[in-house]
Symmetry: C2
């Protein structure tokens, strides 16, 4: 039986899952491949850490370059995370003619083009299914069986931490800070959760999905990114009353001369399947001009699902090697030379419905003033909820608009702010009910 030697860089949670999968499912893998995948070396920073793994002596090493240079190793898996030295190691592995697998979405979102170019020059595969939506095989599907489509949109719930927090806020009526603290205690959120809760991680994944679906490079800094830290329990409550749920959505749409790429909390209809994606689950919904709408959902993170995606990539590469083929599919599905650059539409040009919550003085005539400012900017109101309170002070006023352009909404909000009837900046949440 043929044997392929694999090197692993980094052995944290996902790396540990990969090692376990290769051990536990080895007979399944061999029955499918007719070849043996052997993890020859694992490079880690801390050789002493107990990972709960049974490894042959000599497998664990502190010397990353030993793996990168080993002529016996044909496939390198990078699971270190971070930009450096992951980037340098991957480039070195590719330069040495090794196929590479990575789960590093941040690196791909910012340095993907450099890595893909290097892989093309060296005729090796770079695969990264685990970088988006954990175990859900959505990238393979876009590059694989759905490749015959011209994709019009891609939409996702891509960050388990945010979805877990929003789900608990919705189910328990609890506030963001309290749920985040508890999520950190339970291990569902990092000690420093900024990347997750501020939407950066979701934007990294959206950038990858957009490149794959639309065959275009993405200028990452042009993606509009808002996280969930400003979502209040009041908004969650009003969303429910209006028949919506709040989700952190990644949205990509393709037009002739531009794309939309945005990450922000959005209200989706409670009856939409996306609203039902709860806890740490992820979902991706695509539309192609032939396949129509397809949705995938599953566990978006965690040791086992992510390991499933990594070893799936490993098997794909091994299948190529078994038939003597080097690089079979370009990293983005499109041949490298056919990947264009299409600008991202400025956020002000976005057209959707808006949920606006003002904190207003509890006195007559306020709604008229706000409605007036919206009307002057061409924004029509679909519904309004005004809460009266005995004793004056400030009360919430919620307005749901018909479709409007974001730049006009911003102008109206500036105007309303200047009137001096509101106590704080209004909450703005986009409504996506035409998904």
């Amino acid at each position: 039986m043929k044997e392929y030697k694999v090197g692993l860089l980094g052995c944290g949670i996902v790396g540990t899952g990969v090692v376990r999968l290769l051990q536990e499912n080895s007979s399944i893998l061999e029955k499918k491949l007719g070849a043996k995948l052997t993890l020859k070396r694992i490079a880690v920073r801390d050789l002493e850490k107990d990972r709960g793994l049974v490894l042959a002596p000599g497998v664990l090493t502190g010397d990353f370059r030993q793996i990168l240079a080993d002529p016996d190793i044909s496939i390198i898996i990078e699971l270190m995370g971070g930009y450096s030295p992951a980037r340098e190691y991957l480039l070195e592995a590719i330069g040495n003619g090794k196929h590479v697998i990575t789960a590093n979405k941040a690196l791909l979102a910012l340095h993907g083009q450099e890595l893909y170019d290097a892989a093309a020059r060296n005729r090796v595969e770079i695969r990264y299914e685990a970088a988006v939506a954990g175990g859900i095989p959505v990238l393979s599907a876009i590059k694989g069986n759905m490749a015959a489509n011209r994709f019009g949109s891609v939409l996702g719930i891509l960050n388990g931490t945010c979805n877990y927090i929003l789900t608990r806020m919705t189910e328990e009526g609890a506030g963001f800070a309290a749920v985040l603290k508890n999520a950190q205690e339970l291990g569902y959120a990092e000690a420093d959760p900024t990347f997750d809760i501020e939407g950066t991680d979701t934007a990294h994944k959206l950038s990858i999905l957009i490149s794959l679906c639309f065959g275009t490079w993405v200028s990452f800094g042009d993606i509009h990114v808002e996280g969930i830290s400003s979502v209040s329990d009041l908004d969650i409550d009003f969303a429910g009353r209006l028949g919506y749920r709040i989700k952190l959505l990644a949205i990509g749409k393709r037009y002739e001369d531009r794309i939309e790429a945005r990450v922000h909390p959005a209200m989706v209809p409670a009856c939409d399947p996306l609203a039902g994606i709860s806890g740490v689950y992820n979902a991706v919904r695509l539309t192609g001009n032939y396949v129509g709408t397809v949705m995938f959902y599953g566990r978006g993170a965690g040791m086992e699902p992510t390991a499933s995606a990594v070893v799936g990539d490993l098997m794909a590469i091994a299948r190529n090697m078994l038939v003597g083929a080097g690089r079979r599919t370009a990293p983005l599905g499109f041949l490298d030379k056919n990947i264009g650059f299409v600008p991202i539409q400025p956020m002000g040009e976005t057209v959707c419905k808006y949920y606006l919550r003002f904190s207003v003085l509890d006195r007559p005539g306020i709604l008229a003033k706000i409605a007036g400012a919206l009307g002057e900017n061409g924004i029509s109101i679909k519904s309004a909820i005004q809460t009266a309170k005995s004793g004056g002070g400030f009360v919430p006023l919620v307005i749901v608009t018909h479709e409007a352009k974001e730049i006009d909404v911003n102008k109206a909000l500036d105007r309303i702010g200047a009137i001096g009837i509101t106590s704080e900046n209004p909450a703005l949440i986009r409504i996506e009910d035409d998904l």
Copy 2:
């Protein structure tokens, strides 16, 4: 640019979709493949029929064997349906060293082994993504990126006609016969809907999914198959009251020494995402020992989604040919020699919860008699709904059991039938709330 010539057998709805896709999306395909896919010949029975297609002269032919023997054609797509001559044509194409693609689930469910063996001997690929769940790329995912898993279960809503009928019965409270008639008028059900509504089509697809997930041949005749023609609007109504929806489910489960393979109407919790799959949509849910639970949903039939799956297969084969590889992946993912045979567990051994609806005499003591017969057979009752009616006669009595073995339920029902307090055979619907 390399060019691969393709032959198409049959040009009904799906075939027409394939032709259109190849024409409309040709630039996308070329940007991804760097090769040209040319439909050289299409064999049809009726040369005169207007398919609304613009074809070069000479493409359409009535001579199927001309395509099978054409040395210029390297890939054959079979979209004729039926067992014969589709089977003979596919075997001939394979024998001539051509890669083949088919959407013929009935043929694969009954003659798959013969076709896969022939493809193995001739070192060609046989691909059939369109045979199950239309455009949803679930077969590719099982063979592809999820291949590292040991699958424990596969579950699906696989027939659009049945799901459309059940959805309308649920939403409109209408009876089966009326909805079927209307569905036929609207083109959502065939003139002879037997294959669809009696569950046969679903069982064909389940058989394919089981072989792929578990690496085992399926003795098709051993699959328990019940359709939806006996589902009454009364049951739909009670399901709603109990917090369930009725769906025609395909269920496959893997145990050490046997598999479960059954197709029947089932009650699923209203909050389960499967309950929300409505109309002609299909869904497949899988559990793997690493990926966990993954669900896919999308359009399960129709010209465009099915064409997407067929051309996706075509691109996969073209990618192989471009790198000089013939057969890259065995038809079932597992190497042919590693496909075992595991018997299907007899239906009597099934353990689940049961919904039982009796039509009983409206008088005191009836529930006690029925509960007694159930208890004697070791079946405990979770809940009962008894409807009283003024004036005697027969009324519905609904019982929901805790987990029980089907053989015991059948014994109890025989016993109850013999008491002489029921007016007709009871309705039995399995409850699948532990999916």
